[in-house]
């Protein structure tokens, strides 16, 4: 169990004192122990990474430190003094500031108004002063931010930057960063890391919550790994390897790359898209004359910069978005603008990008979400009613098969972690061997183990004969899983490459507007 409080004596190499010590923290939610007697400490001038799978308890632990949750057991010490943090106000007063994974920003307000809202900045602060300080920090980070822009107008990446700027404005003693890079570009990440190093030198204690191993190895000094709510290991980063970390996180060895069997002979065409034109939410041309075919037993990867029309394409095929002109045929049948249920009944599964918006219903429970495709027909339906026995048996089976971790079948889906949500979706959309599966960003935001699981599943489905349309921004993933790769740019198809002839450079060129015909010839140097 935890030891008594001790303030770290200054070591020879650095004068790191312990700012925060969390001892024996336990937090229970109905049916699950999110934090199980966890000890965690934060030292000044140090980046302490909190690593774990989705749902391991990292955000919960830091929410407790920030006053958003109250622990059921355990104590928190601040510079050796026991404290009770009852709300974010208390945390802020101590100098603990948090940048959240799910952004805490008022959409309707401007950036300046959101920042003015933060109590750490005092009650009275002139608009000019706020704008000046925002620009100051943004410039240091190399980010271009207009303080008067309204949040709902901004991209997800910009919003993530603002979340970080918000935390930095008040020079805190402890800075908690929760998944700060999930939406940042490579450039943005590097700038952020630079800033974190600077803050470290100033003596801040920084907590870096993530499930990304590369980042942990790059930026942290110490690593605490959580697994299923328990603290599994604490180690210095210098002593850690990627494989070790993955093993601690998951409890077994994890495959980072998968090899697929060579594709069988081309089966019959399952999905035929002909000269498709689809409009986006702002009536812009999102899909602009795209044609391609996906065959039985193959994975067609769709690569492209975000906003190239992938989302609209996927929604149009699934029947969720109106097709302006063009044709979609599934197994020979013209299903353009057909009712989504009809399309689903023809054997089409859809894993959408926003899982809790277009895939699962957050307020319904696991049972109800699992039978969403089939509740209206037997065997789920027995006359006028639902066959509860069958449903329960069916759900238990799926939960087992797909390793979904949940306390109870009647848990509302909104409480599940990202990895489990995805498994739930997959269970529903693939367990009956779909003829066509549209998977949009299926591993986005998932931890190592869940990612491995999803990729293995996609390959298995392909081997069993499903046609899969895989949309992803992860080029490694696309290249790992796809038999052929299509690239979209501004709604137009730049071309389709076979897996053998595809390289990151060629795909990259196509993603930025070079059509396949105009690509420079492949040389032996290409990997």
């Amino acid at each position: 169990m935890s030891s008594k409080v001790k303030v770290e004596a200054p070591s020879r190499s650095s004068s790191k004192e312990t700012i925060v010590q969390m001892v024996g923290i336990t937090k229970r939610f109905p049916g699950v122990v999110a934090n199980d007697h966890i000890d965690f400490d934060i030292r000044s001038g140090e980046v302490h990474a909190l690593l774990g799978e989705n749902g391991a308890g990292k955000t919960t632990l830091m929410n407790i430190l920030y006053g958003l949750y109250q622990p059921d057991e355990g104590e928190i010490y601040f510079y050796g003094q026991k404290v009770r943090i009852k709300s974010p106000k208390d945390a802020i007063r101590l100098g603990i500031v948090m940048s959240h994974q799910i952004f805490r920003q008022v959409l309707r307000f401007s950036i300046a108004e959101n920042i003015a809202l933060h109590t750490s900045l005092g009650l009275i602060l002139s608009k000019k002063e706020i704008e000046r300080r925002i620009s100051e920090i943004a410039n240091e980070l190399g980010w271009d931010i207009d303080p008067n822009a309204k949040i709902y107008q901004l991209s997800a990446e910009t919003r993530q930057k603002i979340e970080i700027v918000k935390a930095l404005l008040y020079e805190p003693k402890v800075l908690i960063l929760d998944e700060p890079t999930s939406l940042l570009s490579l450039q943005g990440k590097l700038e952020l890391f630079k800033q974190i190093k600077r803050l470290k030198e100033k003596g801040l204690g920084i907590v870096y919550i993530t499930h990304k191993l590369d980042e942990v190895l790059a930026i942290s000094d110490r690593i605490t790994i959580l697994r299923k709510g328990k603290k599994v290991k604490v180690l210095n980063t210098s002593e850690a390897t990627k494989e070790d970390l993955a093993r601690y996180m998951v409890g077994r060895d994890v495959l980072f790359t998968l090899t697929k069997t060579p594709s069988k002979k081309k089966g019959k065409p399952v999905l035929e898209v002909k000269n498709l034109h689809v409009l986006g939410d702002r009536n812009e041309k999102a899909v602009n004359g795209v044609s391609f075919t996906v065959y039985e037993g193959e994975i067609l990867g769709v690569a492209g910069v975000g906003g190239s029309g992938q989302r609209e394409l996927a929604e149009a095929i699934a029947g969720l978005r109106k097709v302006k002109t063009g044709e979609i045929r599934i197994l020979g049948e013209n299903l353009t603008n057909a009712n989504p249920r009809k399309i689903a009944e023809r054997g089409v599964g859809f894993i959408p990008e926003d899982r809790l918006v277009k895939g699962l219903v957050p307020e319904l429970d696991i049972k109800e979400n699992l039978i969403l495709r089939m509740y209206f027909k037997p065997p789920c339906r027995k006359g006028l009613f639902l066959d509860e026995d069958f449903i329960r048996k069916y759900c238990d089976e799926k939960i087992c098969q797909y390793n979904i971790v949940a306390p109870d079948l009647s848990t509302k889906v909104k409480f599940l972690s990202g990895g489990n949500l995805q498994r739930l979706l997959l269970a529903r959309e693939t367990s009956w061997n779909p003829k066509l599966l549209i998977a949009a960003y299926p591993t986005f935001g998932l931890d190592v183990a869940s990612t491995e699981y999803v990729r293995k599943l996609l390959l298995k489905l392909r081997d069993m004969g499903s046609a899969i349309l895989l949309i992803s921004e992860d080029l490694d993933e696309i290249m790992m899983l796809s038999d052929r790769i299509a690239v979209l740019y501004e709604g137009k198809l730049m071309g389709i490459l076979n897996a053998e002839e595809a390289t990151k450079e060629r795909i990259g060129l196509m993603m930025t507007g070079t059509p396949k015909e105009k690509l420079p010839n492949k040389t032996d140097k290409d990997t």
């Binding site: 939610f29 008022v106 809202l117 933060h118």
Partner: protein, 341 residues
């Protein structure tokens, strides 16, 4: 015309404003025609409009504050009724109209407190609780007020026209020839406008109603902010009721609030949660009430006349929903209890 002017003209607010102005102009033009054109009649009409507007503007201001913080209080009618009754009782007993007014405000705050405890402390569903408050307030008003029914109140707010200002044509009679409470109401409109849009307190209130999670993470006490806003709302609604019984009628009659609390709820939406528009909306509906009054005995069937304000309420609400396609502008967290876990 320049594109910017065209865009402004086509915007939703402009359409609503133009419609409102046209309707007001029609009302204003019809009333004098019915009675014969004369400036004194127009003056009288404007004066009456402001008087009729005041008991609508006050509860609307209160509900705007409450709803901006995210709480939907449907009990306004009940609070107004109780405020009216309490005002009369205390005014009689203490022989002082101002004390009566304080009583109206106080009972409004008490009723709001009950509502707060149910809805914020215990997270009860705001709509049925509001309706319950309405019934309770209405019944309470009868219990308190019955002994004083139909008695004319001596201790009341008399008209106190402001010297010099009262002689300005049109505006003089419209704004400056009233009792104190009307002046206070106008001041309150300006006050709340500045509070909501120009101060940090207003920013916090709006944040709490828009995204309580963000306000919480920024360090504000969402529950306390909502608690206080609802009480302010109750105070203002109570004051509106007090105005009815201490200045308007004066005296207490059963059912004297006549659905004004409900009209105020419609006005809250109509005003897009903005005190300035609440004032304009108040004048619009005040004008209808004034028309109803003026046309009495002119041959229009009385029951049709009585129906007009409420008919207008329906028309306005329908227009709003059609033009803005749903309650655009509503605080996003309106009606949703907040919890962290």
């Amino acid at each position: 015309m320049s594109r910017k002017v065209l865009r402004t003209l086509k915007s939703r607010k402009s359409i609503l404003a133009i419609v409102a102005v046209v309707v007001i102009a029609l009302i204003y033009s019809s009333a004098p025609t019915a009675l014969g054109i004369s400036t004194s009649t127009i003056d009288f009409y404007l004066n009456l409009t402001m008087i009729m507007a005041t008991p609508l503007i006050l509860p609307t201001l209160g509900e705007i504050i409450a709803e901006l913080s995210g709480v939907l209080n449907l009990g306004l009618e009940g609070i107004m009724a109780s405020g009216a009754a309490a005002g009369v009782v205390v005014a009689y007993t203490t022989q002082n109209a101002w004390l009566g007014l304080l009583a109206s405000i106080f009972i409004g705050m008490c009723l709001a407190l009950f509502f707060d405890i149910a809805v914020i402390t215990f997270g009860a569903d705001q709509i049925p609780t509001g309706l319950g408050l309405f019934f309770f307030g209405l019944g309470l008003s009868g219990v308190i007020g019955d002994p004083y029914a139909h008695k004319v109140l001596k201790y009341r707010f008399d008209k106190t026209p402001i010297p010099v200002l009262k002689d300005i044509p049109l505006i003089g009679k419209f704004l400056f020839s009233h009792d104190c409470l009307v002046y206070i109401t106008l001041i309150l409109v300006v006050f709340f406008y500045f509070l909501i849009y120009k101060t940090k307190i207003g920013l916090v209130i709006r944040a709490v109603g828009e995204d309580p999670g963000a306000a919480d993470a920024a360090g504000h006490n969402v529950f306390l902010v909502r608690f206080i806003c609802v009480i302010i709302g109750g105070a203002l609604a109570g004051m509106g009721g007090g105005y009815l019984s201490l200045a308007f009628s004066p005296g207490w009659t059963a059912g004297m609030s006549a659905g004004r609390g409900w009209i105020a709820i419609c006005l809250t939406i109509f005003s897009l949660w903005n005190p300035a528009y609440a004032l304009i909306g108040g004048w619009l509906f005040g004008g209808i009430f004034a028309t109803v009054f003026s046309l009495q005995g002119m041959g229009v069937p009385p029951r049709i006349l009585l129906m007009l304000p409420y008919l207008l309420t329906l028309v306005v609400l329908a227009l709003i929903l059609i033009v803005t396609k749903g309650m655009k502008g509503a605080p996003s967290a309106l009606g949703i209890p907040y919890s962290r876990e």
